[in-house]
């Protein structure tokens, strides 16, 4: 076809985007943001039974400055919300957020004065993980899905184009479940 045929054995061609994605996903460092019940399951994932180290993620960082993934594990109260945002702001780009459990995703069963109704009111969320609390396997699944997303993230002009296209698609989207009258 072209260049490939002239290459010696053992060389693989790929795009810069794929290489960057591979590097980013293969050593993701999560910042611990354990809040409630889900935090215990998150710690279980770090334990020997489920072993998050298989995905290069066993280094749960105590400092947000050296982290690129925030797993919001548990219910976020109104008092905790500013703290959460500050931690998020301290993380360097690029960064991702998993909202673990229904409380972090939507407020869950606690629709009351104390709880923020979904952490996406405060920080952008990349992955919503349902369950109360989600099983460790579900968290692993969410992590793998996020890895997939990171691997296939575009860069530079491609990224901008992707964002524009996404936004247009969202605007055109009809809401299939309920009528909006």
């Amino acid at each position: 076809m072209g260049l490939e045929e002239k290459l010696p054995n053992g060389v693989v061609l790929t795009t810069v985007e794929q290489v960057v994605g591979l590097a980013r996903k293969s050593s993701m460092w999560p910042a611990t943001f354990g809040l409630a019940c889900c935090a215990i399951e998150m710690m279980s994932v770090g334990g020997p039974h489920y072993d998050l180290a298989r995905f290069g993620m066993e280094k749960f960082g105590a400092t947000p400055r050296q982290a690129d993934l925030m797993i919001v594990a548990g219910r976020v109260s109104q008092k905790m919300a500013p703290v959460l945002r500050q931690i998020y702001d301290q993380m360097p780009e690029p960064k991702w957020v998993i909202a673990m459990g229904v409380c972090a995703s939507s407020g869950g069963m606690f629709n009351n004065y104390a709880i923020v109704q979904g952490v996406d009111h405060i920080v952008p969320v990349d992955m919503y993980l349902p369950g109360c609390p989600p099983r460790p396997e579900m968290l692993l699944d969410a992590v793998l899905k996020l890895h997939d997303k990171v691997q296939n993230t575009k860069l530079g002009a491609h990224r901008e184009q992707e964002i524009t296209e996404n936004e247009e698609r969202m605007l055109r989207r009809s809401l299939p479940l309920v009528s909006k009258d």
Binding site: Q78, K79, L177, K180
Partner: protein
Amino acid sequence: MSTDNERERDEEAANLPEKQGRERLAAPVRRTGMFGATTTGDTSGFGGLQVRGSAPAHSQRPFTDPDDPRTADFDRVADDLEAALGEDAGAVERVEAARGELTFHVRREALLELVRVLRDDPSLRYELCTGVAGVHFPDDAGRELHAVYHFRSLTHNSEIRVTTTCPDADPHVPSIVSVYPTNDWHEREAWDFFGLVFDGHPALTRIQMPDDWHGHPQRKDYPLGGIPVEYRGATVPPPDERRSYQ
């Protein structure tokens, strides 16, 4: 003294139906109509129905029920408390013995002195206070806010409850932190959630809610506060606005 008591008791026994009727009517109305509808929607014929809550309970001696082992030391505790209080025995407005639990309803002015006696009197020795719980009864005029304390005696293995009340307009209750230091945070919590002011508390500040929060969220006149959750164009209303069965 004892003859007076007996005569009173006889008179009360003679007027028991009347007394019960009085108590029944003194109870607050909780709901009118069959289905709680406020408009003309109630066609059941029970529109004039009035469902009453419970009247304030008032137990008579003896508090100890021979058939109920849980109540075995009730009379002893009541006697000892009366003896230890001496002239201040009037501080106890009424006593309630129900469900194997003994409750003393106390005037708030006398609370601090009473808990000091509860802790220090050798026959009582309630060493452990398990905190204070606020309860808000908006319909109980003049005594809207209740502060409920539970005390446990490790020496005598006994447990009592002390309740004191204050009106919403003057939500002051004496702090018992000077006697039971453990009540520090419990009283701050009751202030935070119910607006009960504990006079004499070393630092009565909010504990659970943010410092700049307005209102006391667990009072009955404070809404549950849920905001409607939107889901794909549909709105899930907060729980207190959804349909409920009464």
